[in-house]
């Protein structure tokens, strides 16, 4: 377990900033405690200082997880956000997409969101912007990447993809073995 290097921090922040923008500094600088990012077995964990001190008592090969796993670094040092980060992305999300109840199940099974399932989308979403996906009852379901900007969403036909799926809460069951 070790802190992230400059390079790794930069890559991770760039990825997270795609979803929450400048609200990222609220994650770094919190009024209710010191939280930090630590790297363990290629995964990044967001953990409070108190928890970190406790976890140092466990030997590295026996430690499975600590705090919240935000994502992992791949072998080629790219950062991949996992669904376990949703709790921290949802409150700070800048661009949101609401999907209709009928399309919820499809999204939760890992499919992309089609225009026919799109309920609402925030204004000024540009193309390939990171978005957080909500149900119509404002429950965060996952996150993705906008395939079309808001204006384009209006013109396009109902079978076109408007949000690329990145992660959804169904992964807690589907990828139970690989999530930590």
């Amino acid at each position: 377990m070790r802190p992230l290097t400059e390079e790794e921090t930069r890559v991770m922040f760039e990825k997270i900033a795609k979803y929450i923008g400048e609200n990222l500094q609220l994650l770094v600088d919190r009024p209710d405690g010191t939280y930090c990012f630590r790297l363990h077995n290629d995964r990044v964990y967001y953990v409070s200082e108190k928890m970190l001190k406790l976890s140092a008592n466990i030997s590295g090969d026996k430690l499975v997880s600590l705090g919240t796993c935000f994502g992992k670094f791949t072998k080629t040092h790219k950062f991949r956000l996992h669904i376990t980060a949703l709790d921290y992305l949802a409150p700070y999300a800048k661009y949101k997409v609401w999907i209709k109840p009928g399309a919820e199940q499809s999204f939760l099974y890992g499919n992309h969101v089609l225009k026919s399932g799109l309920g609402r989308i925030t204004e000024n979403t540009s193309q390939y912007q990171g978005v957080v996906v909500y149900s119509m009852a404002d429950i965060p379901l996952g996150f993705g990447v906008a395939a079309k900007s808001t204006q384009d969403c209006r013109k396009v036909d109902p079978m076109a993809i408007v949000v690329f799926h990145q992660a959804d809460v169904g992964e807690y069951i589907r990828h139970e073995e690989t999530l930590t």
């Binding site: 400059e6 922040f13 900033a17 600088d29 970190l52 193309q127 204006q151 209006r154």
Partner: protein
């Protein structure tokens, strides 16, 4: 009428026996010497038949070989046999011929320091038992080595001695002492080897004193030699097919796990600030969209005013906006970055501004 008579049969059988005997008996003046352990038969008879043979003695050689082999086989058949997995096998005796050495006789090694000292003082090694009774575990254990009898690094309770610092870790102290003893022993062993091979220790290139170096050691020594020039190896050519050394960079250093949290936070905030500064503050798309929306609203307001005026003045149809139907809205391909709007707006040409229903805030589909 009788067939072949009994006498004839008997005579035939005798004749067959004699032939067989003739085949397997060989007459030699001098008996052969046999070393059955090596399957060796040595024939000391003078080779008169060969000498008389002439330029092509093939037939005679073949006959000689056949005779000698016959004698050897005869000897082999007299050995005690046994049955191994359904085959009859003869048990060979020990070989009697002494084969010469494969390698030269080893040179006597110089004595180690301890051996010299022992010889000087007249110390002889005492005979010790292999196993020692270990009270703690209640079994016989080795005197030294794996799971030995008295291993002080494996004790679970160590009393702090009188004069020692109470905060010192006695366990690690013992482990360190053991490591030091092992290292010292290894050093002395290598020194003895170096003295035996008349090299120096520590050798300049980090090589093993016996001359049996591994590939990695030689590679490392070569790398060090390459770098030990006045220009630190910059102008040393490599051999035609030599590959670059791998793993010769610096080892990465990471921050400690509980470093200064405040400093870490500061660095991250600084990084975020730089990232935000790098992003352009004026987003061109947004700006053009906003501009176009404002113009939409202006046009709509003007149209409303004019229609009101027109109604008042009695039927003047001056729908300024609708007149500019013109070229149909260019749908699909535009140059990137403007998400569907035109680059430079020629005045009065509308792309999607018919029926302006552009409002800010959350949009309906």
């Amino acid at each position: 009428m009788e067939g072949p008579s009994v006498e004839e049969l008997l005579a035939k059988a005798e004749q067959d026996e004699a032939e067989k005997l003739q085949r397997i008996t060989v007459y030699k003046e001098l008996e052969l010497e046999f070393d059955l352990g090596n399957l060796l038969a040595s024939d000391r008879n003078p080779p008169t038949a060969l000498r008389q043979a002439g330029p092509a003695p093939e037939a005679e050689l073949r006959a000689l070989a056949r005779d000698n082999t016959q004698l050897l086989i005869n000897q082999l058949w007299q050995l005690p046999t046994e049955r191994v997995e359904e085959t009859l096998v003869a048990r060979l005796p020990e070989p009697t011929t002494h084969l010469p050495r494969e390698k030269p006789v080893p040179k006597p090694r110089p004595l180690t320091r301890w051996q010299q000292f022992a010889r000087l003082k007249g110390i002889h090694p005492k005979k010790k038992t292999n196993l020692v009774w270990d009270e703690v575990s209640g079994q016989w254990r080795r005197r030294w080595g794996y799971k030995r009898a008295r291993d002080d690094t494996k004790e679970w309770l160590i009393e702090v001695p009188d004069g020692a610092d109470p905060l010192e870790d006695q366990f690690t102290k013992r482990i360190q002492a053991k490591k030091e003893r092992v290292a010292k022993n290894e050093l002395n062993r290598l020194r003895n080897l170096a003295r035996a091979h008349k090299t120096q220790l520590p050798s300049a290139a980090g090589l093993h004193p016996t001359g049996h170096q591994s590939k990695e050691e030689l590679g490392r020594a070569m790398q060090v030699a390459k770098v030990s020039t006045a220009s630190v190896g910059r102008f040393q050519e490599r051999l035609p097919k030599e590959k670059a050394p791998r793993g010769s960079g610096k080892k990465r250093k990471f921050q400690p796990l509980f470093g200064d949290f405040a400093a870490e936070k500061k660095n991250q905030l600084e990084l975020l600030r730089i990232m935000n500064n790098k992003k352009p503050k004026l987003d061109v798309t947004r700006a053009t969209n906003k501009q176009m929306r404002e113009e939409d609203q202006e046009e709509a307001a003007k149209k409303r005013k004019m229609s009101q005026k027109g109604r008042r003045k009695g039927g003047w149809q001056g729908s300024g906006g609708k007149r500019k139907g013109g070229p149909p809205s260019q749908g699909g391909k535009r140059k990137g970055g403007l998400g569907g709007k035109m680059q430079s707006r020629p005045p009065g040409l509308g792309s999607k501004r018919k029926g302006g229903q552009h409002q800010g805030g959350k949009r309906r589909k």
